[in-house]
């Protein structure tokens, strides 16, 4: 079962959000799937909370059910036990207060950058001038000023992910939910984009839940890291990251940073090797069948 530590003190006082009243409450989530090999438990009684303005990462080996968790919290998947609540409201389907950023390329290739970012505002029915003005603000926020009229095909992978980010932020979600958004990018771009994300998060005081398998990224960006076990996914440990804020990518070279990474890797390695063994056995079984 999970060992939950109390959330660390925020450096800036948040008078509006009571520290013990979380904005996101994940309570006892259990998700099972039917597979050809029999029923599979992807997520096994996962519970945690996220306070307003907090940056929490969920880290785990491949196959630990974190993407399933992402889809459940985002309301894209149902048929699970337990509940997810946002600011007291139960989540049943995609919620207005939750913004999702997906792992894959998700910009609309037929729309320009500004039209991509303005998409949620368009859905909400905002008049053209107003939504372009708002969208432009978010385009600048992610550092793509000047690229408004370009098409995604003309941009690099990192820039496209920034467009997706701006698009989700434009909807002003209370909670930002990200599923390994930098998985497809190289390490340097990751670190720099991580900087960008930190900057944005600090500026907007955006509550963020990041799903990742990258330890460096998790420690660099978060206030708290939740470590998940391999299938069936349970919360193994909650690690409070007590590094100073505001942060930048330079933090990766500090000693404390290394400590946290080592600690988390210690937990993760166990789970990751279980995953590897399970994978190999599965493949042996499969080839034996055919």
């Amino acid at each position: 079962m999970a060992v939950m530590s109390t959330p660390t003190r925020r450096t800036a006082a948040r008078a509006d959000a009571a520290p013990d009243k979380p904005i996101l409450l994940v309570d006892g989530i259990v998700k099972r799937f039917d597979t050809p090999d029999g029923p599979l438990t992807a997520v096994d009684h996962v519970s945690f909370t996220v306070a307003a303005g907090e940056f929490v990462s969920v880290i785990g080996p491949s196959g630990c059910g974190k993407s399933t968790l992402f889809n459940i919290i985002g309301g894209l998947v149902d048929g699970y036990e337990g509940s997810v609540s946002v600011a007291g409201e139960r989540v049943a389907g995609p919620h207005a207060a939750i913004g999702m950023i997906f792992q894959e390329e998700s910009t609309f290739p037929w729309r320009t950058v500004i039209d991509n970012v303005a998409f949620p505002l368009e859905l909400a029915g905002l008049p053209k001038a107003e939504r372009y003005e708002k969208a432009r603000h978010f385009v600048e926020l992610v550092g793509l000023a000047g690229f408004e009229r370009r098409y995604p095909a003309e941009l690099s992978g990192g820039m496209r992910q920034r467009v997706s980010m701006a698009r989700t932020l434009a909807a002003s979600p209370k909670i930002l939910l990200m599923d390994e958004p930098f998985a497809a990018l190289d390490e340097q771009t990751r670190l720099l984009l991580g900087d960008k994300v930190l900057q944005i998060q600090q500026e907007l005081e955006q509550t963020t839940l990041l799903i990742t398998h990258n330890i460096t990224e998790a420690v660099q960006l978060s206030d708290r890291v939740l470590v998940m076990t391999y299938r069936p996914g349970k919360l193994k440990r909650s690690v409070a990251i007590d590094l100073p804020r505001p942060r930048s990518s330079e933090i990766v070279s500090s000693e404390a940073f290394g400590h946290y990474v080592a600690q988390i890797w210690g937990d993760l390695r166990e789970e990751a090797s279980r995953g590897l063994i399970d994978d190999e056995q599965h493949k042996l079984r499969r080839s034996g069948e055919t």
């Binding site: 894209l76 995609p94 037929w110």
Partner: protein, 264 residues
């Protein structure tokens, strides 16, 4: 044209120079065909006007294009095709979206469309006449039935090749069904839809024109069969030329407009 690049070995003339021989060959082919035609026409080998002389065809072409009555017929055919495309196209897109979105519906009905598609639709014409009369209605019905199938099948296939993450994006922003269709589905499959429309135009054209040749007193198809019954061969050739130029042009236009790239 990309073949030209591969074939150019070191030391061969640059690509620009290779355009000349192609143009030259095209001109040679056209001239040769025209010369052979004219020779055949004046040789008397074939029955009378089966192969009319080039000047006769040119004169007929001129007469056709300068006759205001011709444009009335052209307008009739054009109107029939546009309405046929609208009816067949809209219903095709709607059915295609429904089939593409639901695996159950697709497995139940899509093979029906797939196997009924390549059938000679003109044989339904007697039924269309009974249902819609001898006027434009039956021709439009013919065209609509013809283009419904390729459009529906193309749209259904197009739906399935949409990148699933784009659909998840729409759902995560809580777009309603209409918004999903207009802002995500249709733009995401603009190439398959355009391709379906291009094919649909081709078969709607055929359906409508054939119906006109069978039973009508208006339209290009009617003019063609009238020229046949009056044995006015130069006129028939001139009509066929106009018809082919227009249809190939329309096809090229949609092709250019809709792009020829796959995916995306």
């Amino acid at each position: 044209m990309a073949e030209a690049g591969r074939l150019i070995a070191a030391g061969a003339p640059p690509r620009r120079a290779l355009v000349r021989p192609v143009m030259l060959l095209r001109v040679v082919i056209i001239v040769a065909v025209l010369v052979l035609w004219q020779l055949l026409a004046v040789s008397g080998l074939l029955y009378r006007d089966v192969v009319p002389s080039l000047p006769a065809i040119a004169a007929a072409l001129y007469r056709t294009l300068s006759d205001p009555g011709f444009y009335l017929h052209l307008a009739t055919t054009g109107y029939e095709i546009v309405v046929a495309l609208l009816i067949g196209g809209v219903s095709g897109v709607v059915v295609g979206i429904l089939l593409g979105a639901s695996r159950l519906l697709s497995r139940a009905y899509e093979s029906l469309l797939y196997y009924l598609g390549p059938t000679p639709k003109i044989i339904f014409f007697p039924v269309m006449i009974m249902w819609f009369g001898v006027g434009a209605g039956s021709k439009i019905a013919m065209g609509a039935v013809s283009c419904f199938f390729p459009i529906a099948l193309n749209v259904a296939a197009g739906m399935r090749q949409i990148d699933p993450v784009l659909i998840r994006v729409g759902r995560s922003f809580r777009a309603n069904s209409w918004q999903m269709v207009t802002k995500i589905y249709l733009p995401a499959m603009r190439y398959p839809v355009m391709n379906g429309l291009r094919i649909g135009l081709g078969v709607a054209l055929i359906g409508t024109l054939l119906a006109e040749t069978k039973l009508s007193n208006r339209g290009i198809g009617f003019l063609v069969i009238q020229a046949y019954s009056l044995f006015n061969m130069p006129q028939m050739y001139s009509l066929l030329i106009v018809l082919f130029v227009l249809s190939i042009g329309a096809n090229a236009l949609i092709g250019r407009f809709g792009g020829n790239r796959k995916g995306n």
